[in-house]
Amino acid sequence: MTFESAGRSLADFTVELDVYSGPYEWLLALILKDELEIFEVPLRELVGLYAGSRDPESPNALDRDTDFAGSAAALILLKSRTLSPAVEPEADGEDAVAASPEELAERLQEYLKVRRAAEDLRGRFARAAGHYPSAHVVPPKPGRLRVAEDRVALAARRTFSRLLEPPVRHLGPITVTVQELVGLIRASLLRGPVSFEDLTRNMDRLRSAVAFAAALSLAQEGGVRLLQPEPLGALTLELVEPPR
């Protein structure tokens, strides 16, 4: 697997996996559009690829890391959500229907253009930054401004009925990585099968969520077997013996 040298953002991060090769961003788009099975994407491998492409000296290393961590977290969430039994796909009829490869290609082509246009805009904004207008503005004559009464009423309705986004501050900084927990799971399994409950006994909710994702990732890659005799019952992890 290869990757092109790191550039300004993740736009330059290219991955080569068995299921997909090309820009990382398209991979995300494919997954988000349900066109690529999330199980087919080895997350750990992806993290490894990214780690290998990192240049800590690069001035936007932090931005890149944040972008990657954000998208990787989304993938983890998606992967665990996909596994949970009773979750219906979004009730978005049109989108729920699997698109044909041609349709998907068309949409991705359009998205790619929008991506490029966004990069172009970024440059324009940056070049134009630092222009400040005159403060010597004369106010228009009183009475020239019209405010539509129904727009004020509409704005009231919109403002007062808006759901506030849930606060996330209490979640604190995310200090755990999938790799870390993959390592931890592997180490635990050396002593024999472990129940998921035991594995996560001393973990907070965030860590156990990531542990779950890590376990799924390991299972998908074939290193670990997940046993769950009955739906929603206890989950046990055991090591898969490597073929001799």
């Binding site: 010597h136 401004l145 019209r146 405010v147 509409l154 704005a155 009231a156 403002t159 009925s161 506030l164």
Partner: protein, 202 residues
């Protein structure tokens, strides 16, 4: 540094453009990082460049400071521009802030931001400049006694309604529960506000 530093005159011009009030030479020096003598020299040069004979923009020395103004010889054009200029249309955010002041006001900047769930200081500033909002007293119970904002007569005139009563009543716009939620946000103390904390500009 590969780029040449801007000339002292250019730095002063830029700062003078963004101030509607006279700026003292000491403040010009501290903003531009120039020594006082360099500021003096540059101001002398600018006085020539922006003199009534040479420019429609003049540099005036007033009240111990320096200020750009229009050349009085050009005042007819300025006045006509003011007559003819179409005021900038209000943004959606501006309508929302006005709706807050109309239906929930008088209320503080902080309360507007809490109700909207987003820092609204910039929008409030713009509406104050446009005379659609005005400060009407202060909230003495809150720390720092922040100003209370209310809609102005000019706002009522701009909407062409005779009085506030002509706007649809609040409970015809939103449900009981939603109103309760809004009231809760309105009265939640500053300190625990979840609205993005912007610098309080007072």
């Amino acid at each position: 540094m590969s780029e040449r530093a801007p000339a002292p005159e250019h730095l002063l011009e830029a700062v003078l453009l963004v101030s509607a009030r006279p700026i003292r030479p000491a403040d010009l020096a501290s903003a531009t990082g120039l020594p006082p003598e360099a500021v003096e020299t540059a101001l002398a040069n600018l006085s020539e460049r922006y003199s009534p004979e040479t420019s429609g923009v003049v540099l005036r020395a007033v009240a111990g400071g320096y200020l750009f103004s229009t050349n009085p010889a050009c005042s007819v054009a300025v006045e006509r521009f003011r007559e003819e200029a179409r005021p900038a249309p209000l943004s959606g955010a501006a309508h929302e802030v006005l709706a807050c002041a109309l239906y929930l006001g008088p209320l503080t900047r902080g309360a507007v931001s809490r109700v909207r769930g987003v820092n609204s200081d910039a929008v409030v500033r713009n509406l104050l400049e446009r005379n659609l909002l005005a400060e009407a007293g202060a909230d003495r119970d809150a720390p720092g006694a922040p100003a209370l904002l209310a809609v102005t007569d000019e706002f009522l005139a701009a909407t062409d309604v005779a009085s506030r009563e002509d706007f649809p009543p609040l409970d015809s716009l939103v449900s009981r529960e939603e109103l309760d939620r809004v009231r809760e946000r309105l009265t939640s103390p500053e300190a625990t506000s979840e609205a993005p904390a912007g610098p309080e500009t007072t």
